[in-house]
């Protein structure tokens, strides 16, 4: 009698284990450490929502060949220690195959362990050059062009559109004294030389600087055709543009991804018209883009009170698209969806048409897309000023 009970218990245990295993095999786990609170929350909560919605949308469309995606996230408060802790926790508990990190810092801190022991695909909010270096970090990718590539795209645009025909265009770089600000500058200098654009000034400030009069005076002295901001989200951009206008400068001001928000245009007010910049994703109001249409419809269905989604949301959404794409490629090739297999798919993404949402995506020489579009502000909204500009 006792042995019968023991047998049935063992059988029951085995059955539960098998059921658990097959259930675990059904979902593709994607984790994220998101700065939902803290000083990066203004973007973090949208990136989180974008990624969550993108994966839920993919599930509605049938998942990865019938396999559902599970999204697991943690809040980090934009604190490196908490982000690393959250990553280790989720790896121990859920062992996801893809992960989305909160910052350049987290990516750098985890890079050795991801390459050597965890071996999972890693995307992040960062557009840093270092994380897109395939030879060093084959598991990491950047969901768009790196900051350097964004500068490359803007400089290409500038070279093609000089203010006075037949004369070299001149440009100034205006950046903050942080990793975020300095990251693309060496590459930008080189690129400008190659394209025949003259860099006439470089202004460096502290992040969120208040007194920028000496920098504006310097800009006045050099009077560049274009001035590109890097490393700021809002301040001191409005003050610089206002100051330049007060001095009668005709300079066109430009920004990269984080300085291409409606929030900034709101702060700029009437000075905003003519402000330009590069961004890798289409804007919410471009409803002629099929993916934007899908996002709006998804929003209507699940978040009926939402009337606008910023670019950080699009970044999350696009990262979700990349995750799903990689998993689908694995599935099509008949490979199991594991970190190393997913990593091998990254260089194989070639001319992937995102339906005008982010251009045609290829991860060619580096794990960054190298494509973006230049937009110009008109009446409080951004409208396209160029077609997709490809760097490679």
């Amino acid at each position: 009698m006792r042995s019968k009970l023991l047998y049935s218990m063992i059988v029951a245990l085995c059955l539960t284990l098998i059921a658990g295993m097959s259930w675990a095999g059904e979902t593709v786990k994607i984790s994220a450490q998101q700065p939902i609170t803290g000083r990066f929350a203004f973007a973090g909560k949208h990136i989180h929502q974008g990624l969550a919605d993108s994966l839920a949308y993919a599930n509605e469309q049938g998942g990865i060949g019938g396999q559902k995606i599970e999204y697991i996230y943690d809040d980090t408060g934009y604190d490196l220690k908490r982000a690393v802790a959250a990553f280790k926790k989720v790896m121990a508990k859920e062992s996801p195959v893809m992960n989305y990190g909160e910052s350049t810092g987290e990516g750098k801190a985890l890079a050795p362990e991801i390459n050597n022991s965890y071996k999972i695909v890693y995307g992040s909010t960062s557009f840093s050059e270092e994380l897109a270096d395939r030879s060093k970090n084959p598991y990491m990718f950047v969901s768009g062009p790196t900051y350097a590539q964004q500068f490359g795209i803007l400089l290409k645009y500038i070279a093609a559109n000089p203010k006075t025909k037949g004369k070299k265009a001149t440009v100034a770089f205006f950046y903050s004294d942080t990793e975020f600000g300095r990251d693309p500058i060496p590459y930008a200098r080189e690129m400008a030389k190659k394209l025949g654009v003259e860099v006439v000034a470089e202004e460096i400030t502290k992040v969120g600087a208040v007194d920028i009069s000496s920098q504006i005076l310097d800009l006045k002295r050099h009077n560049p055709d274009y001035c590109i901001f890097q490393g700021y989200v809002v301040p001191p951009i409005p003050a610089v543009i206002q100051g330049a206008r007060d001095f009668g400068l005709k300079t066109t001001f430009m920004g990269t991804f984080w300085a291409m928000t409606k929030m900034l245009l709101g702060k700029l007010g009437p000075d905003g018209d003519g402000y330009m910049g590069v961004t890798p994703y289409a804007y919410w109001q471009q409803s002629d883009v099929p993916m934007i249409k899908a996002i709006q419809e998804y929003g209507k269905k699940h978040h009926p009170d939402v009337t606008y989604r910023p670019q950080s949301y699009m970044q999350g959404w696009f990262t979700g698209m990349v995750f799903v794409k990689l998993a689908k490629m694995c599935k099509e090739k008949g490979l199991p969806i594991t970190g190393p297999n997913l990593k091998d798919m990254i260089p194989q993404v070639k001319d992937w048409d995102t339906g005008n949402f982010a251009g045609k995506i290829s991860f060619k020489d580096s794990n960054a897309t190298g494509v973006g579009k230049v937009y110009v502000a008109k009446g409080g909204d951004f409208v396209p000023a160029s077609d997709w500009i490809y760097l490679h």
Binding site: T37, D75, V84, K88, M91, K108, P112, T178, R182
Partner: protein, 347 residues
Amino acid sequence: MRIGDFKESYATDEAVFTTSTSRFWLGVLFLILALFPFMVGDYLLYMANITGIAIVAALGLNILTGAAGQISLGHAAFVGIGAYTSAILSNRFGMPFLICLPLAGLASAFFGVLVGAPSMRMKGLYLCITTLAAQVIFEFFFVHWESLTGGIRGLNIAPAKIFGLNIGTEFGFYWVTLTVVIIAATVSRNIFRTRVGRAFIAIRDRDISAELMGINLFRYKLYAFAVSSFLAGIAGCLWVNHLKSITPEHFPLHESIRFLAMIIVGGLGNILGAIYGAIFMTLIPEILQAILKFFEEIFPQAMSFLFPLQTVVFGFLIVVFLVFEPHGLAEMWVRVKSYFRLWPFKH
């Protein structure tokens, strides 16, 4: 119940742990600490490691601020100096971890003495501002001395080894952290029993009367700076070998303030206080997060309001502790212990 505490010899008089009960519980603690890594996963080991590193740094600041009464707002910069020294020594000269560790401490101690030098003429808020200046200046060097520090991108280092054993994993590193914490706590505890430690306390309590007693204020203040930054440097070396990368953004001013908060919440001038404070400040955000995650399953919609509340709750907890127990967590522990000493007899 504790009885038989007669102190019949000099040895028993000088002992730190005077009764067999406390020695027994200390043994239990060590046993748990030794078994801990075999029972838990990478996540808890990671938490243990960063807590350990925070403890070493907090013990350092506790000597300077808690014992000698010199407020420092530059402690994170000294941790940074240790971290950079260790990274540079191991990257450029291939020095092993065990040599980097004391050298990182010494480098930090050297700069600590330099920063402490103005304490000859200044005290209180003025000295506080000097250390703030040190924080800003060292941060500036971390960012701009690119050939040495790797600038804003920082440095990456290879996983460390001790006698060929890899300590690059959380498990391996746990033993290093644990050993260093035990040594640091023992050294700190014993410093307070020496002439130097008593001089620190005399300076803190009333510097003029300390000087009248024949204590050379300047020399002892410099000692305090040196010992404190030595421990900070050790913590920095652990930090960089644990994370395997550093950037200047790892050592901002608010990190210095966090160290101050640790020793204040734990109990100023108290070894156990520094330890409790470091544990509290490192673990509470994680615990709050776990509680919120639990509630998320019940109220998924409320999360957008609850997440930002974490910071508020954290701040509120600190205020509550300070109002109801200004002597910190260490004092609360003493009260709990003394309640149970006679338990279940009330008097």
